[in-house]
């Protein structure tokens, strides 16, 4: 256990527990953990006021490795526990961690509702497009045709796009990151943390044992430039080596298309400027898919609204205003009668 907050600034290492990490060697979860520890140091998180809540799965083991409060709950339900924690004590800083099975298969409903309620939490979905902990079955994000122990002839169900789902559910902050991007990932985490309301972050995570290389088509070094686009608010949506490509609106279909940028620069080519408060744009960015379009990384959408916990607090205040006094007064309100001795 930690000693009381020392006055010196904590380093990433100070946020690590002494527990032996139990992921497979080479698992992308290590990199995400590293990015998270760095984030905590950067935001100077108070360990006593920070809580990591998770469901069940490989991803969901993360709380054991962070020297804060942690609750490793049950499969799929982490957002519900986090909701209770936050309603009980809004001062706590709550991170929710889970895998694609945890959050989108058994837990899809709670994710939906936590997003639409807009509770002030950070939700991190480690998407490896597979069930890691239970040994490699197809998950709801697995691509059609995925061969797995439960789908030996290839899966036939259409996958969920986590970010499209989140936007459809009414999320007010939606972002994406990649496990190995140790510079970008903490930045995304910090943005998520800064956002008031539910922040949803999908992280592409490599499961080296059951789904190795499934994201190579856009994360591998050789193709990254041409197949990822990093979205930054107020900046033109450029990608490719030397930013020679960009995204443009096709007004006939209300869709986005990728174009090479001529010598006249992005503006002339009609390249879109990223506006993270624009839902319509965010939906199009989230929908972009390989190989025709690059995969959008970074903050796709950030458009704050009142958070649920603030709403509940307001109701509590209102109740106090209206309240008929203490319990005794309440019990004696309405018709009573007295029986004399």
């Amino acid at each position: 256990m930690n000693e009381a907050s020392p006055p010196v600034k904590r380093t990433a290492k100070d946020y690590a527990t002494d527990q032996e990490v139990r992921w497979c060697p080479g698992c992308g979860d290590y990199a995400i953990l590293r990015a998270m520890l760095k984030t905590l140091a950067d935001i100077e998180a108070d360990p006593a006021n920070t809580v990591f809540v998770s469901g069940i799965g490989c991803a969901a083991r993360l709380p054991y490795y962070v020297e804060t409060y942690g609750f490793h709950t049950i499969h799929g339900r982490a957002p519900t526990f986090a909701t209770g924690i936050k309603l009980a004590n809004p001062a706590l800083d709550v991170w929710v961690v889970g895998g694609d099975g945890d959050m989108l298969s058994i837990g899809g409903n709670h994710l939906l509702h936590v997003l639409r309620r807009n509770i002030n939490l950070q939700i991190l979905l480690f998407n490896n497009e597979i069930y890691g902990l239970t040994k490699g079955q197809a998950s709801p994000t697995s691509r059609i045709g995925t061969r797995s122990p439960s789908t030996p002839m290839g899966s036939v169900d259409g996958p969920i796009s986590a970010c499209q789902f989140a936007l459809g559910a009414g999320a007010r902050f939606v972002a994406r990151g990649i496990d190995t991007q140790q510079k970008n990932l903490p930045e995304v985490f910090k943005r998520a943390h800064a956002h008031k309301g539910t922040s949803f972050v999908e992280i592409f995570q490599n499961c080296i044992v059951y789904n190795d290389g499934v994201f190579d088509n856009f994360t591998a070094k050789a193709v990254a430039d041409d197949h990822q686009i990093h979205c930054e608010h107020g900046q033109p949506l450029l990608f490719g080596a030397d930013n020679k490509k960009g995204l443009r609106l096709n007004p006939a279909r209300l869709e986005i298309e990728a174009v090479e940028i001529g010598d006249d620069g992005p503006e002339a080519a009609g390249i879109l400027i990223h506006d993270e408060t624009n839902l319509a744009l965010a939906q199009r960015l989230a929908a972009m898919d390989q190989p025709l379009l690059p995969v959008a990384i970074g903050v796709l959408y950030c458009n704050p609204a009142r958070s649920f916990d603030d709403g509940v607090a307001a109701v509590r205040d209102e109740a106090k205003k209206r309240g008929r006094g203490d319990l005794k007064a309440t019990m004696h309100a309405g018709h009573t009668w007295t029986v004399d001795a």
Partner: protein
């Protein structure tokens, strides 16, 4: 106040009134006829008159069943008297039938010679057909065995409220108040409280308030002046001997809500009440939502799993998590309850039981979730189960649930049922400062801390809440090492932890009162053992038989798990044991397994409380049974 008003409001009670020890009245009508309201008002007036009483609201499964149908009949029954009243009554002395369907459904339970009040205005061709009558029962002799007062209440009401210029629809809505006035006179009730209530309720529509009051008064006047059937007069029921104090009527739902609130005060905690609506549990959410200034935040979750999850999260965060549902919803919470007991967090789960299995009879009462409460989880997963015997009892049981959950860091299931939740009974408002506080202590000391440290006496785990510097820790549903609180797959440790979880719960038995005998003697020939809302009929039945000289005793169990420490020896003292339950035999199984006593079940699975006579009959049969 005009002179006539004064006279109306102050009849001379008892003049030419027949003295009764008790009476059962049932108001029955269409869902839209306001029978529940009528019943509530009669209850209040009766309570004010000093009678003891018990009620039974009985309404249809439909929100608004089509008018005039038998499945749309809504009824309210009240039993009141000069002696202690234990049930809402087996049969009625008086039946008010606002339409043919009500008569059709209820007539069979009106005592022969009983008083039947019918609104002839509703006995139209169409309504008769809808109710399933081929001929008009008012004229075909089928109600000859009753003493009938047939009045065109509809017409009378319209007449009475004419001055207020209401629409025909609104005017007819006053029918129930007219009827209430009539019945008030019959039993010598005061109208004042009802008049007051109407004024408050319709504060924004004084015309409606006045019309209703006029109807009430008109019905009352009618009763006073009408020529009643032979043998029918006004009745008088003397006040019962009632413990002095300030009283109100209360439903189980209200008492439970208040008990939780007071329990939290005694524990020095706030709470999160997280629930998903389901009949008949929803009213608890509603009452608490109205009272959020008293320390409980309410949260309507997306489903029952989310509700229990949020509640457990709240407990982890250092407030008390409470969740509530009925059987099917509790089923969904099972997995998460397992987490709460494995992580050893306090949690209260209120189950307002209803008829099952599956959707079953959602608006009817039943006691059939005892198995689920005691055994209904995967693995060895003991927790504490308490039960409430009556609306008033809910207050104390709720406090006890808070005490045990926080003292032992365990989930507590509190079993109540649809009957208790909805039935109102008079209640002596308790003095809150007579309850001893049991303030929760959170861990703050860092030295030697680990999250599965235990109180050596209670075996309760420490409660260290997020926000406390230096106590950062991780918990969850994987088995923990006894000595360090870290995850452990060690075989012997799992054995030890399983035994400790069981011992902690068993230990609660030493911390709760011994089982008392309600009435009768230890070692009597027959012990009648009940739990929950069967209290009233069992108690009265046993009382009646003791008076008739039978060797019977009544035991009523509140602590379903762990069972009271002396229960085994008590039970072994009886020659025979009968366990009446509104299920197919569940507590009886527990008793047999724990104490190897040949307890037998008396089971009624009809969505309705026992009648006293049913229990009496069964007791006599059991006493006479040749082994």
């Amino acid at each position: 106040m005009t002179l006539i008003d004064k006279i109306l409001q102050n009849p001379v009670p008892g003049s030419a009134r027949e003295e009764l020890e008790s009476a059962v009245v049932r108001f029955a009508g269409d869902s839209g006829d306001g029978m529940q309201l009528t019943g509530d008002q009669f209850t209040l007036a009766t309570a004010i008159a000093g009678n003891d009483l018990a009620t039974f609201p009985d309404y249809p499964a439909e929100i608004r069943a089509p008018a005039g149908t038998t499945f749309g009949v809504s009824s309210f029954q009240i039993n009141f008297g000069a002696r202690r009243i234990m049930t809402s009554g087996d049969q009625f002395d008086t039946l008010v039938a606002m339409n043919p369907a009500a008569l059709y459904v209820e007539a069979s339970n009106l005592k022969p010679g009983g008083l039947l009040i019918v609104d002839t205005g509703s006995f139209t061709e169409r309504n008769l057909r809808k109710a399933g009558y081929d001929t008009n029962p008012l004229h075909d002799g089928s109600i000859d065995k009753f003493r009938t007062i047939a009045i065109d209440i509809s017409a009378m009401t319209l007449e009475a409220v004419k001055p207020f210029g209401l629409s025909q629809k609104d005017a007819l809505r006053c029918k129930n108040l007219w009827t209430l006035g009539f019945v008030y006179w019959l039993f010598g009730r005061q109208r004042h409280a009802t008049q007051q209530w109407l004024k408050t309720k319709f504060a924004k529509r004084p015309d409606i308030a006045d019309a209703n009051i006029a109807a009430l008064n008109a019905g009352h006047a009618m009763a006073e002046t009408a020529e009643l059937p032979s043998g029918v007069h006004g009745y008088h029921i003397a006040p019962a001997e009632i413990v002095p104090g300030t009283y109100r009527t209360v439903t189980g739902t209200q008492a439970l809500a208040w008990g939780l609130i007071h329990g939290l005060k005694l524990a020095g905690l706030d709470a999160l009440f997280a629930s998903y609506p389901i009949t008949p549990a929803s009213p608890l959410l509603h009452v608490l939502a109205q009272n959020q200034h008293l320390g409980i935040t309410t949260f309507q979750a997306e489903d029952e799993i989310a509700a229990v999850g949020a509640a457990i999260g709240a407990s982890f965060a250092g407030t008390l998590g409470i969740t509530s549902s009925s059987g099917p919803g509790i089923a969904l919470k099972g997995e998460a309850i397992g987490l709460a007991l494995s992580a050893e967090l306090p949690l209260i789960i209120v189950n307002s039981q209803r008829g099952g299995p599956s959707t079953g009879l959602p608006t009817k009462t039943e006691q059939s979730d005892l198995y689920q409460a005691v055994y209904g989880r995967n693995a060895d997963a003991p927790l504490c189960v308490l039960s409430a015997r009556s609306a008033a009892d809910c207050f104390d049981v709720a406090i006890e649930a808070v005490r045990i959950a926080t003292k032992y860091m365990t989930p507590v299931i509190l079993l109540t049922d649809g009957y208790i939740a909805n039935a109102a009974e008079p209640w002596r408002i308790p003095e809150l400062d007579q309850y001893a506080p049991f303030a929760v202590e959170f861990r703050t000391e860092k030295a030697g801390f680990h999250p599965f440290l235990r109180n050596p006496e209670t075996l309760a785990r420490v409660w260290a809440k997020p926000g406390t510097p230096g106590l950062e820790h991780r918990i969850g549903g994987i088995e923990r090492n006894f000595d360090t609180g870290h995850i452990s797959y060690d075989p012997d440790n799992h054995h030890k932890m399983t035994k400790i979880r069981a011992a902690k719960i068993d230990g609660i038995a030493a911390d709760v009162p011994e089982q008392a005998i309600e009435i009768g003697q230890a070692g009597a020939r027959l012990g009648v053992v009940g739990w929950g809302s069967t209290y009233g009929p069992i108690n009265r039945a046993v009382d009646n038989l003791i008076r008739r000289g039978h060797g019977v005793a009544h035991i009523h169990v509140r602590n379903i798990w762990p069972l009271p420490r002396n229960l085994g020896s008590l039970l072994k003292g009886f020659d025979r044991i009968l366990v009446p339950e509104m299920n197919n035999g569940q507590l009886v199984t527990l008793l047999r397994a724990q104490y190897l006593v040949d307890a037998r079940g008396l089971n009624k699975i009809a969505g309705q409380p026992f009648k006293i006579a049913e229990i009496e009959t069964a007791i006599l049969a059991e006493l006479e049974r040749t082994p």
